[in-house]
Amino acid sequence: MHAVVNYIQSYLDSNQTPGAAGNFFWATIYILLVFGGLSIAVIAMNWLERKILAHMQVRLGPMRVGPHGLLQPIADALKLLLKEDIIPAEADKTVFWVAPFIVVLAAFTVFVVVPFGPTHAITDMNIGILFMLGVSSLSVLGIVTAGWASNSHYPLIGALRSSAQMVSYEVAMGLAVVSVILMTSLNEASTGTLSMIGIVEAQQAQQQWFVFKFFPLGLIGFFIFAVAMVAETNRAPFDLPEAESELTAGFHTEYSGFRWSLFFLAEYSAMIAVSSIAVTLWLGGWLRPFPNALQGPTWDLVFSLIPGLTFLFLAGMTFYSTVRMPKHPLFRVQTIGLAGFGALLGVIGLILFIPGVRVRVQDIFWFSAKVAAFMYLYIWYRGTFPRYRFDQLMKVGWKVLLPTGLALLILTALVAMRSELLADVRGVWHP
């Protein structure tokens, strides 16, 4: 027993990620944690998307399964698992079978290098960002094979659209990423890094999120990435591969039940994945807001209390709606359920106040909060924008984002060179 505690303790005090430290046991635990966390995030996202979209559209959204429809995603997941799994007679069965797994694998493998905190990542690769872009672009293979294997017209057109779209936007995306990597090299040793953790640490060292670096260059790069990532994940207004009104459901028209839910899972985890790239590269990853302006132990304490307070606030909201539930015997179970949910949130909030937990969890909290902001943006886009047409989509990709990205890269390089020269003259490395 003591040995186990010691073992955990030794890990908690380590300053390396389990992968980098070569600790397979902890790496496995982390993989399971990330996998479980992602699945919960996707389920939560499902509920949130439906609720937020519904409230944007003057309706209530799911209200029946559980209080405020909280159990709706679980009911849906059950339904999808129990549904008949249809493989069209004319489909290429093997490829049809494999395609969703390619997509899901690509979407999940990306999370190997996502840093939720300085030590909270499965591993830290020195080519982290390259690995992420490379693996996430593999998902297009799954989509193309899915469309092709269905042996049907709509999926085929959807797959073609999807491949063209993802390839086009990857270029602009890559250029924006390279401009960030240039920024990481602004230190005394003039060494840039491709490591995800390294990029965040560079932002910490330079005391500036890269989104504000070389204003407005960082902002432009961030903007390019933010547009390209929506296109990469096939979300509105770039959801042409699955444009419902044109191609019924695009590349997954012929999929049903569990296989369809894999595409769903992949889509949402891909959204989370690209959002975490954006957060890591431009928004300081796990760093709390104003790490340099509001320094000192007092501010550290204040910011470390925010996670717990957020959960307590959510718990408060839940209790408020519990009180507002209709006082009718039919709603008794729902009211109790909602109160229980509120209590759970409250307990989590209180746990987050424990000093030991507080310090270790705040990185994950800030990272997730930033990603969550992106998730909200995704939903907001979907509620607001009509869909682009295919040629317009290509025009935006090739004629707007790509030249802007190139210009941005050149400008960033020039400005970076200038500040490096200045630093050499002054002998001070400070922005």
């Binding site: 559209q57 207004p237 419902e244 924008f385 869909r387 682009y388 047409r389």
Partner: protein, 383 residues
Amino acid sequence: MTEPRSLSPLDLETPEQTFLDANELVINMGPQHPATHGVLRVILRLDGEKVMGLECVIGYLHRGVEKIAENRTYTMFNPYVDRMDYVAAVSNALGYCEAVEKLLSVEAPPRAQYIRVILTELNRMASHQLWLGTHALDIGAITPLFYTFRDREEILKIFEKYCGARLTTHAFRIGGLQYEAYEGFEKDVKNFVSFVKPKIDEYEELLTTNRIWLERTKGVGVISGKDCIALGVTGPVLRASGVQWDLRKAQPYANYKNFDFDIPTGQNGDTYDRYIVRMMEMRQSLRIIEQAVEGIPEGPIMAKVPKVMKPPVGEVYHSIEAPKGELGYFIVSDGSTQPYRIRVRPPSFVNLQALELMCRGQLVADVIAVIGTLDIVLGEVDR
């Protein structure tokens, strides 16, 4: 007058060959498809995403309304017309009742006329709102649908209070109205007008200046005024192409000549202009409703019509400006209680013919936009 363009049909004799030896793809859109507004089937010939040609296959909702009419009395047929353009049932009924009244040489009393105008214009509003919601949904904006349906609900509530039905209202009778306006009808209508005016601004806020909406609708599905006339296209589609023609002004029926309203027109004849024209039409409808509700006279609501209607031998063609275009009834009477022949000139059916001209050379996504902008109702196309 230009020579009408030839609308040559597709050569679909050997679709397999076409598919194999050329870069063309024959795709079957519908009859079950989320964006064909019912059971329209469009056979598209695609080169990549470009539409090389298309053919509409219709009739999946054919119920033989014209044959039914020959086996019913004039009164019995009245509810059937509601089932054609089921989102603008009141307009259909107005056209039919007026046509039979003309055949009988009677006229509905003024009070009935006013209430008819109010209900018909409310229905035009409802039809346009439904169009806007579904059209925006086709183009990918999902939110306007819920806004328009929320507001359309208020119109349907007025209908329900007036005659008990929401959609297929059967609101009018030959010779006037069956029901007196209920207590508080005028107040309800006035409340609705003041309620919906800011809502139209709300729709426009969502779409009119939205960049993506502009890109998706400007220059899409262009049709010139001349082509419109050659193809018999009427209604907002014709007006958006710059022809200022509205039957309410050109050949006023009911008592539209008593009201002051404008005919909005566009210039480019593209999807965006049609959108703008319909938005402006909603405002004009509100104007008419406001005037009509102020001026409802007292008096009877039913003219003197015989219990058993036997119109004299003869025939009549009467048409009205339905939300979709010119809705005409050609009725032949042989002096008996049943119409000898009723021909309905459905605006959706004729307008749909322009689809090929408007879509050729455009992309698949535009076909959806054009089907939406033509504002067809398959119940009326197929009858």
